[in-house]
Every structure is written in C-alpha cells, then in structure tokens.
Symmetry: C2
Subunit: 222 residues, 2 copies
DNA sequence: GTATGTGAAAGTGTTCACAGCG
DNA sequence: CGCTGTGAACACTTTCACATAC
C-alpha cells in the first residue's frame, strides 16, 4: 500500500470532497493570473466559503500552508490534483446515447482539457451505428462491455432517454464501470450502490430549486 | 396573503429544497406509469432516500399523506409543483453568450417542457448580433437591462467564457435578475448574495468528485 | 506580526421510534 | 393494522478561538 498519509486516516465527509474541485478550479485561475500565494481568507472570499472551512477541509489531507504566509498556489493546486486522482493521468469515458444531447456532450471541449477523454460512443439505433461523429465511430450496444475493458474506460456518460437509462446503467455496471455521469432526467438505482458513483446532471433540478425562492416574484399573470 | 400553511413557519433547510425537485421528477414518472399512490418507503427506494427523510421533508409544508395508505401521486405532485413555484406559470429566461455552448442550451428541449422558456439571447460579439438562432434574434448586451424588464425575464443563463462571467452577472443583477444558471467554469460572486441565487452547472466538478473515489483504479500506466 | 492547523463548542441535519389517525 | 407525522436522540458539519510555527 502506498506511503501512509500524514493524517491518521479519518473518514472524509462527502461535503469536503464536493468542495475540493472548486478549490482546484479557483487555484487554476489564480495561477493563470500569476498569483503565487493565497490565504484561506482570500480563497474563501473567491468561493463564498469561510476561511476556517477551507483550512479544516485541507487539514484532512495534510498541512500544505505556511503559518503567517498562506498557501503556495502552484503547490496546493498540484496537491489537490493528486488528491482528486487527476495527477498526471487521463480518464477514459464512454458515451451512451448519441442523440442531440450526446452530440453536444461530444462537442464540449472542456472535458479534454481537464484530462477526461471520450474514447467511445454507443447507440442502440442501428441507423446510427458505424456512422462517424468527429473522430469517433458510433458502436453497437453489443460491443459495450468488450470495448470498456479493452480501452480501459473507467467512466460512463448516460445520454439516453429516461425510459432507457435504467437498463443502460445496468449494462455499464456489468461491464465494470465505477462512475457514471447521468444526463437522463431520472434518479438511477445502481445494482451495487456502495461501489458505483453516480452524478446527475440536470439543470432543470437546479432551476426548480431557485424558483422555490422566487415564487412570489415576476410574471404574476397566468 | 394566501391561505396560511398548516405548518408554523420554520426555516426550511436548503437540503430539503434540493430534494424536492427530485421528488417531483419521480412523481411525474410514476404518474406517467399510472401509479396512483405511493408510500414514503417506495418513493425512498426509487430515490435512495430513507422513508423518514421523505416524510420529514414533506412535513415542512403540510400533511399530504393518508395514514395507513401513503400519498396520492397526482395530488402530491401538484402540491410540490406549487411549493416550488411551478404551479400554472412559466418562467422566462435570458441567455447570455451564444457560442457553441449557448447554442446547445438553446437547443435543449426540456427547458420548455418544464415551464422554462428562453425568450432572449445576448452576445457581445457584433458579428453575431441581429443574427437569428431558431426563433430568437441575438441582441446586443446594451439592450440587456431593458429587455429583461420589458419581457419580464426572471432568470439569467450565463454561457460566456470564465473571463467574462463576473462582469455578466453584475449586469444581470443590475437589471434585476434574481436567479442565475451559470455554465461558466468559475465561482461567481454576486453583489447581493442574500438576494441572488446562483446555481453552477459544471460536469467537470462532478467528474472530479468521482475520480477522488476511483483514484486507485484503472489505467495505471503513464 | 500573521495566518495556519486543530480540538472543542455550536449549529444543522438525519434517523429513530412511536403516538395517532385512517 | 399500516403508514404517516413528529418530537427527541443521534450523527454530522461548521465555526470558534487560540496555541503554534514561520
């Protein structure tokens, strides 16, 4: 097993893991702006978190700061990347569902710049199979499991209609996928919830949260 | 003021508000499947929440169930829509940034089916202004404030590069917008955080959370 | 002097467990 | 008798506040 971390292994709350990518995103911007060091206070200001929150979160993983001085932007960025599993490696992804939404996902350039590569695309529609989109050839669902294993794909992207999504994640799970980015508007039940992470992408859910707080405003007319 | 709710007004946790849209989404599917009633247990199974969680969440807003029997799907769905501010009304949205991502957002049909209409689109690029995308004519940023007021737009969608996003939300805020769906990969600081809700859409953040849990798996080479 | 790292306190959110109602 | 609705117990998170190190 790898070198033991400074920190005695304490369970790390999910909330902490959720914030780390935001820290990383902010640090990358600071680095681009040639900022060399940052305090928990200034990082907190940029992200609307309290300084104590940031220090506590980071303390789960080690002591990265210098007292009286703050954190070195570049060093902290590298440590966070490594903590998040983004250090000097790529993650390979498979897209399932090459409809309008699927094509938009394929065209979203930021995945590649952040080390996430879509290396295979699948659809159950026979008229799409073997067509090309960009540099990828759409494959039949029958090839899913084999391709995932051969091409070392770790992450699945589900972009099929809700009615098909549950079956698709079963197939992805059976092929050994451990993480799924779900664009279908349905909460999916994995067969092995302990092993498989699912993240939903549904802007409608986010809009509906916000309208809760606004429901007495604007457009009163029917 | 409308009829007083049964519940004495207690502060409702954000976590509860976050779950309500998921309840609604599940209930809509159950209605489509002609399910007439549902217990907190079966709704919880579908969403990976505990039955107690669901009962407690709903109890913030009233007593919607029948003891011994559960909840009537259609009735609970309607109550949730009304709680979320989705009862019998539309929300109007303005898109800022009509690049590749902005166009994909314009083409995303689910907004309209859920009562969210994009009624105006803006870009600062003069070569895009006055071009048509679908049924919309791209407008100059100078017309932002006036259009938002005249067309009763309540929600802004930010789809500009990170470097421009902070300025764009300032303009949206100044025009009176109270909710922003932010697709730019940066955490935005509103001028009046108490008044303005912002939701980030960034699938990269979600992928990076999942890779944290997977960092010892797959593609060990390189 | 200044900002981190961290136990302890305060504050929130979730689950329990059962009374009460249909 | 089953399932809701809900105080009370429990678990978890955040903030406080200060000793510590640069």
């Amino acid at each position: 097993m790898a070198r033991p971390s400074n920190r005695a292994s304490k369970r790390i709350p999910d909330n902490v893991i959720e914030r780390l990518p935001k820290y990383l995103r902010a640090l990358i911007r600071m680095e681009e702006a040639s900022k060399e060091s940052v305090s928990s206070k200034s990082l907190g200001d940029a992200l609307n978190y309290s300084p104590a929150q940031i220090r506590k979160d980071l303390s789960y993983f080690g002591r990265f700061g210098k007292r009286g001085r703050g954190y070195e932007v570049k060093k902290l960025k590298e440590r966070l990347k490594s903590i998040l599993g983004l250090g000097d490696r790529q993650w390979n992804m498979a897209l399932v569902g090459v409809g309008k939404l699927g094509r938009a996902i394929l065209g979203y350039g930021r995945f590649a710049t952040q080390g996430f590569r879509i290396v295979a695309a699948f659809d159950r529609d026979p008229t799409l199979v073997s067509k090309k989109v960009g540099s990828l050839t759409i494959q039949d669902m029958g090839e899913l499991a084999e391709t995932i294993r051969n091409r070392e794909i770790q992450i699945g992207i589900v972009a099929v209609p809700a009615s098909q999504a549950q079956e698709v994640i079963a197939q992805l799970e059976n092929a050994g996928i451990k993480a799924i980015l779900n664009y279908a508007p349905i909460t999916l039940a994995p067969q092995r919830p302990e092993e498989v992470k699912i993240q939903d992408v549904d802007p409608i859910l986010q809009l509906q949260m916000m309208t809760f707080f606004m429901k007495n405003q604007g457009e009163p007319k029917k």
